[in-house]
Symmetry: C2
Subunit: 286 residues, 2 copies
């Protein structure tokens, strides 16, 4: 991340491709016990949160990521009482899950409490769900937390950064096995799985690891303007249901809710798992 001539630039971790955002102001910077947190005001994407120089959340596109990783598994799940989010201290995923009245508990495990506090100040819309009485914010290490949980959660969202440094552990089959064990017998895991144009080897490896553990592994994409290469892939791993098996009992609820959503609708949900030859090849499906 370099700041030259008012441009904030992130290079992909392969350092061959970069994105730049015209900056208005550097609103916040701090070094926590775990990482460096920065908040910028930009001309192109509004406010933007960075962790160790990597773009995480922006006003412009946060709704895409947060809506797709929450409403897709919710609509497939038959019963969805308890949800776990690992990472995701910005609160955006929580905000989406608490839109569903039948969900009884949302646990957010975020190791760095400062991410939550900085997000509350600069991204109040993202964190608006954290005050819901069904939400528990747990400032713990996700790796340790997931090992203790057994057959407890209906949906687990792994809201991770790139598979480098300590986050690389969130892309191993050992970790996926822990997630599997923490899920109920119809449980679903959602995770972000990088950009296939820029990370061909990595993404194949991620999906191979998911397939070692889950009987049903699918992939879809949604654009994340502030992530390198924008074409972002996500994984849907399930013990039982396929991602296009929408729960008929929830159709009426979502029919009404989806009018207020910015990205998700059920028509898009049903279509997005019909992936291109390129996408299939990159995840090792052909």
């Amino acid at each position: 991340m370099i700041n030259t001539g008012g441009w904030l630039t992130e290079e992909s971790f392969h350092q061959k491709y970069s994105m730049g955002f015209k900056v208005k102001a550097h609103l916040h910077t701090e070094q926590t016990k775990y990482q460096k947190i920065d908040v910028y005001e930009t001309e192109s994407v509004g406010r933007m949160l960075l962790l160790d120089g990597k773009t995480m959340v922006s006003d412009k596109d946060e709704f895409v990521y947060h809506e797709v990783v929450s409403h897709i598994p919710y609509m497939v799940s038959r019963s969805c009482k308890k949800v776990l989010i690992i990472g995701g201290g910005d609160g955006g995923v929580v905000r989406e899950f608490v839109k569903h009245p039948d969900i009884e508990r949302v646990d957010l495990v975020e190791i760095d409490e400062r991410v939550i506090e900085v997000s509350k100040k600069y991204f109040p819309d993202c964190t608006s769900g954290l005050s819901d009485p069904r939400v528990r914010v747990l400032p713990e290490d996700g790796f340790a937390f997931i090992k203790r949980a057994k057959a407890e959660y209906d949906i687990i969202v792994v809201d991770s950064t790139d598979p480098v440094d300590f986050a690389s552990g969130l892309f191993t089959d050992e970790f996926y096995q822990d997630v599997y064990n923490a899920l109920t017998e119809e449980g679903i895991m959602m995770n972000q799985t990088e950009n296939p144009f820029l990370d061909e080897w990595g993404i194949k490896n991620i999906y191979n690891n998911m397939r070692k553990v889950f009987p049903q592994v699918y992939s879809f994409n949604a654009p994340m303007l502030i992530y390198p290469g924008v074409y972002w892939t996500f994984g849907f791993s399930s013990k039982k249901y396929r991602p296009t098996d929408l729960n008929p009992d929830k159709l009426q609820h979502m029919n009404s809710l989806e009018r207020s959503l910015k990205w998700y609708n059920m028509d898009w949900h049903r279509g997005t798992f019909s992936i291109s030859n390129f996408h299939k090849k990159m995840i090792g499906q052909v």
Copy 2:
């Protein structure tokens, strides 16, 4: 487009967002009667063609654009004898259409013959279809050409640059009316319609203009890694058929062909028109 420290950078035409590609070599540069042509060898996307500093074609992602604007309308058309491509001197769209044996004629109208010659030298795979006996390369002004054609083409692809300078004329309702008149009574127009995250006003305007002329206007997206913002939208405008009305007589042919394609498959085709709430809003559909 700036070249600093071995990085080639393109800013979006709103100059708030940029992309950078690590450069290995500057292979070609020339000023033609119409524009500046450059070819770079990059580390991230292989060879890349630029016109007036704007990224046009790269080895890495050219197949996406070229396959989607050709095979989608081909599969919807009931009879497809004659195809017109306006612009597209790199030849990639032609290469895809000539994969269909029932097409009798492909006319490529490209005002700048130098684009074709430079592409032949540096992108031989893209231009490989130009030697097909069914192809006519016409070095003419697309605006003048389209005004003369009447009820002649089954598919017209407008392979344009951004709606700035002289290319802005390719996004007006006057031009779309000329395309409409040049199409047969079941004709289909395909065009690229920019990135909605970066060009909210422009894209609504483009779709409004298309709707003034065509009874059926639809939109989908496919990623173009070298275009600003990557999430790229395309228009499907038709006199009769909807984009998911695949021609049953062509299913067997495509079933066999799609195995050799890099992006397109019929399953993706059927799903990609199920667009998100964001996409609908940006094209003025809701």
